[in-house]
């Protein structure tokens, strides 16, 4: 039971770490996404 609960804790830790670590990589802020460097409207 101890190992099982520990695995849940580790799993949640990794998921949370990945969520916060990769957020800036996977989700581009609108200020960057719509900047003139990224989008040219002419």
């Amino acid at each position: 039971m101890k190992a099982f609960l520990l695995s849940i804790a580790v799993l949640l830790l990794i998921v949370a770490g990945a969520r916060f670590g990769l957020k800036p990589l996977w989700e581009t802020p609108s200020a960057v996404a719509y900047s003139t460097d990224n989008v040219r409207l002419h």
Partner: protein, 385 residues
């Protein structure tokens, strides 16, 4: 008099009727252009087309003209010019995408579904015929340590993340067909969004679990001579008093281990390429590598010739990821079966980490001997010289 009145009344309705019929016929016979004429006359210098000055554009700027050649080129993947940094946006129609979509929604989904159903049916049949494999000599009540806390934690980390990935992944493939009709669009949309995010982030937990399990168990999973004997006897699954000797892991468990490791590596790599799209060319590289040793995979599978575009790589990755994941699901279903209802005493190994001595002697006799020998070594100190 009465007769005359009736005749006049008939003539009164007959004339307008004839006039209406003539007008109707005239309307049918008039040229269509006449029908389209507007009562508003445009000025003499009015522009009748919104086409820009210069030579006429191919296809017509209003799209009113059909140009078979230009549309055929677009349909076949002709890349046009776009003024944005992402030049891949110039590809209006990626023709192979339709092939991928038809394959994914058609035979791929069908066969993957059949494979999982067949696995469940086979396991149920096996259980019905063989029943639960019991400890022949009964439980001794003496426990022997089989797996440490770290080993079990790694196993459960891999297991829990795999189940989460399996449920969320199957929703991508079969959710639209089976879940959507039951729970409706309003719930299916947010649920699928949540499961997609869960799938993406849980993937890392699975990879960590996979690496941990590999490091902890590789030494016990190197094939040896005992495995041949174990396989020859069918692992003792059929018949009684037929338990071939095995070390910590028998040949069946070694097959599961290597299956999970290799398929897990493959599903992780293809999943990584899906998480970070358009950055890898796994299929072009792999097919080139196999081509060098004489295996022409595209020709065998009837695929287009490499090199593949970034979007084609994504499509192959998506299909491969789904196929490998379902093969793993089938393998893991068999593993879960034998570790729970299929065999008495087997679950304790991952539950408490301790197994019954009689169970261990029947299924892993060589391992029990090794453990006992080590215990004896520890309990009897080496004689002083």
């Amino acid at each position: 008099m009465k007769h005359l009145t009736t005749r006049r009344a008939s003539a009164r309705y007959l004339l307008p009727g004839i006039a209406f019929a003539l007008l109707f016929l005239a309307g049918l016979l008039l040229p269509l252009e006449a029908n389209a004429q507007s009562s508003v006359r445009p000025p003499e210098d009015a522009t009748t087309s919104i086409a820009p000055p210069g030579p006429p554009l191919q296809g017509g700027v209003q799209g009113t003209e059909s140009d078979a050649d230009i549309w055929r080129d677009i349909r076949q993947g002709e890349v046009g010019y776009v003024p944005i940094p992402d030049k891949s946006a110039g590809l209006m129609i990626q023709s192979q995408g339709e092939d991928w979509r038809l394959y994914r929604n058609g035979p791929m989904n069908d066969y993957l579904g059949y494979a999982m159903l067949a696995t469940i049916v086979l396991l149920a049949l096996f259980f019905a015929i063989r029943g639960r494999i019991k400890v022949e000599h009964g439980m001794s009540g003496i426990k022997i340590k089989r797996f440490s806390t770290l080993e079990r934690m790694s196993h459960w980390l891999m297991a829990l993340s795999f189940i989460t990935l399996g449920i969320s992944g199957l929703n991508f493939t079969f959710g639209r067909s089976f879940v959507l009709p039951v729970i409706g669009k309003d719930l299916f949309g947010p649920l699928s969004g949540f499961l997609k995010a869960t799938h993406n982030y849980t993937a890392f937990a699975f990879m960590v679990g996979l690496v941990l399990a590999f490091v902890l168990w590789i030494v016990h999973n190197i094939p040896d001579r005992t495995d041949l004997n174990w396989l020859a006897k069918g692992g003792g699954l059929i018949g009684k008093s037929n338990h071939p000797p095995a070390r910590k892991f028998n040949a069946g468990q070694k097959l599961i281990f290597w299956g999970v490791m290799l398929l897990g590596l493959s599903v992780s790599v293809s999943g990584w390429a899906l998480l970070f799209p358009f950055e890898h060319h796994l299929f072009t590289s792999t097919f080139a590598l196999l081509g060098n040793i004489g295996i022409d995979v595209p020709a065998i599978l009837g695929l287009p010739e490499p090199p593949y575009t970034a979007i084609q790589e994504q499509q192959f990755n998506s299909a491969w990821h789904g196929i490998i994941a379902v093969v793993m699901i089938c393998l893991v279903l068999a593993h879960i079966y034998i570790g729970t209802i299929g065999m008495q005493g087997a679950y304790d190994a991952m539950g408490s980490g301790e197994v019954d001595l009689n169970w261990a002697r029947e299924h892993h006799s060589l391992w029990v001997e090794e453990v006992m020998a080590k215990k004896t070594e520890r309990s009897s100190p080496a004689p002083a010289e």
